[in-house]
């Protein structure tokens, strides 16, 4: 499969990338690792007229401890997240999710910003960032703005970025020493999650739980979170896992099977905390 024709520009800086994206309007898409965009282009689900390659912007590949927050550059690869000592110590849920993505080759190329911006509802990192109450930083013609993860995913493969905006950084509250769990069920080793669960014990008590594969966007399992906060036993709370979800009913799994999986995986995640 060959993508439709496009013109290719390699950006030498974030400013240059923003200029190119603005100049070409909606016709241009940023290219990071390409492991979501290129497959979509090969299937002609995406036909951008211009690709702005940001893949070499080393200035966007970093993990920094910044007070009680961890800042992750959008071009940080999944492989780096797996191995980075700051991630391991401060936001280990992110490393646990990164480790479960696809396979080593995919993790070498894929980036956190690319994965989040692609906004696949079954993406592992989306679940982790949502459970961590992450904030996504976008730079665009109008300047810099912060978008909470809860507001970033607006539909299946749709995000809250405005035209010409580039996702540059993900900010996560540090959670050192607090328990977490990442559970995911896939049909084959390297597949996307049919359903997955990211759970993070919160500083003030309680647990944040995010579900992937249970609707058009990753979602927080608020009914489970509230039941736990109200003192319900884990097994009872987990039964509310799919509450409010509209899981897809497709060739991979039926909606009722996904609902079943959500309860099983939330139960496992809570047991692992």
């Amino acid at each position: 499969m060959i993508p439709a024709g496009f013109s290719y520009v390699r950006a030498g800086s974030v400013e240059e990338a923003l200029d190119e994206l603005s100049r070409h309007g909606g016709a241009a898409r940023p290219l990071a690792g390409g492991h979501s965009l290129l497959p979509a282009m090969k299937l002609r689900r995406a036909e951008p007229g211009v690709l702005v390659d940001i893949g070499r912007l080393r200035e966007l590949s970093y993990v920094r401890a910044d007070g009680d927050r961890i800042a992750v550059g959008a071009l940080t690869s999944h492989r780096t997240l797996e191995r980075d000592p700051v991630v391991a110590a401060q936001v280990p849920l992110l490393a646990a999710a990164a480790r479960r993505i696809g396979d080593p080759q995919v993790r070498n190329r894929g980036t956190i910003g690319g994965s989040l911006a692609h906004a696949d509802p079954a993406a592992d990192l989306a679940g982790a960032v949502l459970a961590l109450d992450g904030v996504l930083v976008a730079r665009g013609p109008a300047g810099v703005r912060e978008i909470p993860a809860r507001e970033f995913f607006t539909g299946r493969c749709r995000n809250a970025l405005a035209p010409g905006e580039l996702l540059t950084e993900i900010r996560l509250p540090a959670a050192p020493g607090r328990s977490y769990a990442f559970e995911k069920f896939s049909r084959r080793a390297l597949d996307w999650a049919v359903v997955g669960v990211a759970a993070q014990a919160r500083p003030g008590g309680g647990v944040a739980i995010a579900l992937i594969g249970m609707g058009p966007t990753p979602v927080r399992a608020t009914a489970v979170e509230e039941a736990l906060a109200a003192g319900e036993p884990a097994a009872e709370a987990a039964r509310l896992a799919a509450w409010g979800c509209e899981p897809p009913d497709d060739a991979v799994a039926s909606a009722s099977y996904r609902t079943h999986l959500a309860e099983v995986l939330v139960t496992r995640a809570l047991a692992a905390l």
Partner: protein, 155 residues
Amino acid sequence: MRVEITVNGQAHSREIEPRLLLVHFLRDTLSLTGTHVGCDTSSCGACTVLLDGEAVKSCTVLAAQADGLAVTTVEGLAGEDGLSPVQEGFRQCHGLQCGFCTPGMVMAATALLAENPDPTEQEIRGGLKGNMCRCTGYQMIVESVQWAAANGGAK
């Protein structure tokens, strides 16, 4: 657009369409057909090559993205003293049946051993997670990598 890509130590400068995939650059432009196209959807791993030392699926990388970088394909593994340890391991342990997945398996295993010279069996299986063998000959593939680890490693 013009790209310059070093493949197996040799620099190649070519005029290409931006949409040319790295795997087609290797196979069609340079006639290096050791790298196979399997699923063409970054699932099967038959097209695995090393890009600046990292294993990648070359069906999901544009040749333009490899501009200025170094690619190693299966043709680049054997030295003057013969097959690389991973290649020899596949020969010694019969790590192939039809052979279609073999170049990708060999490249993924080479990257794995470069990073982890003494992997456990589980680590080998994890390292080859992105490579499918349609003959399902995984057991002997794992044994081949174990042989390689004990006999020289990544190279």
